[in-house]
Symmetry: C2
Subunit: 194 residues, 2 copies
Amino acid sequence: MSIETHETRVKILDAALHLLQSDNPGATRMADIARQAGISRQAVYLHYKTRAELLIAATLHLDHISNTEQRLEASRSANTGLERLDRYIDAWGNYIPVIYPVATALMAMQKTDTAAASAWNDRMQAMRHGCAAAVKALSDDKQLTPHYTNRQATDLLWTLLSVSNWEQLTLLCKWSQKTYISHIKSVARNTLVV
Amino acid sequence: MSIETHETRVKILDAALHLLQSDNPGATRMADIARQAGISRQAVYLHYKTRAELLIAATLHLDHISNTEQRLEASRSANTGLERLDRYIDAWGNYIPVIYPVATALMAMQKTDTAAASAWNDRMQAMRHGCAAAVKALSDDKQLTPHYTNRQATDLLWTLLSVSNWEQLTLLCKWSQKTYISHIKSVARNTLVV
DNA sequence: AGTTTCTATTGACATGACGTCAAGTAAAAC
DNA sequence: GTTTTACTTGACGTCATGTCAATAGAAACT
């Protein structure tokens, strides 16, 4: 029985996600989350000692209810390096909009809160492993450009697929999600594939 | 006589930049800036009504003392589109480390402070104009790939050259500034040039 | 049934940062 | 010699996080 199955905890996490996904995510305070969850502000602290801890739990909860593992399964079962690259971009690129609200909140705390910083860092390192696997698959297929080392190619793909880039291209440049995915795929190919 | 030539204002802005460039930039409070400038905390507010206003003034001050205009002059005087692209990446890419500390502070305020958000947005739009000019120069030379519209090519270059990407590649991936510049140039070429 | 434990409640309080206000001072400008 | 300007000190208001103490009800154990 995971810690997140406790009824009140689920209520808290759902409330937090709901508010972070609303029109004014920046104004999501502990008191708002408590009110939304239907409990007292102090009760939230009985379950999560700090705001950072709550937000971290919210991302894990979101992973859980969004079948993150399943999304990434498709890329792992690809037959060629190129296919793996495309599928990874599909999986991760389409997951970004889902985690974006809570990711933003967590990233905003990075400067002040080391727990939040390392939690977000862990997630990004996990994502980087997916990039490294795609690069390795390309390399095994002799499809990786010799222009960069495997390490550098991974760094580039990792950076290309960053949340910030998604934010800039879709929210600021008004690209549709579909355009984002297809163009990122083409940039990745042009950058990494011979 | 510009507003930044006032002796005390210069002291305040220099103090702010000094602290933001120190080992713990996140902990730069108004009181710290005042102490560093050698004046009382309240005196800072005589010159800058809010923290956001101070940070915005600090970026302009930094532009001023870093000869930003001169840096960008080189790219404008290029003869070919390719040359212009390379020189623009040199100019902006090497300016990022200079503005990074204050940029980080300003970006961190974006969520809560609309003045900070729009100030940073203005700067980024100005940078985007440089990208658009480079893309147009490529297009005029028939060197721009037909894969994207001019607008989309500008969006991509703009995103590629973002502060976040610089941060990720140099600070997280430990690329040297030199590697960053040369690899970004190669990605830009592979992405945008026929 | 009685006691302990768990969860939650209310209300008060500490902390830290931004920003404001009022009263006073010292030097420059008129 | 008076006014203006820039600054000082010290107190105060606000807002959000996080803490603490006293209380209450319900489930769980003996």
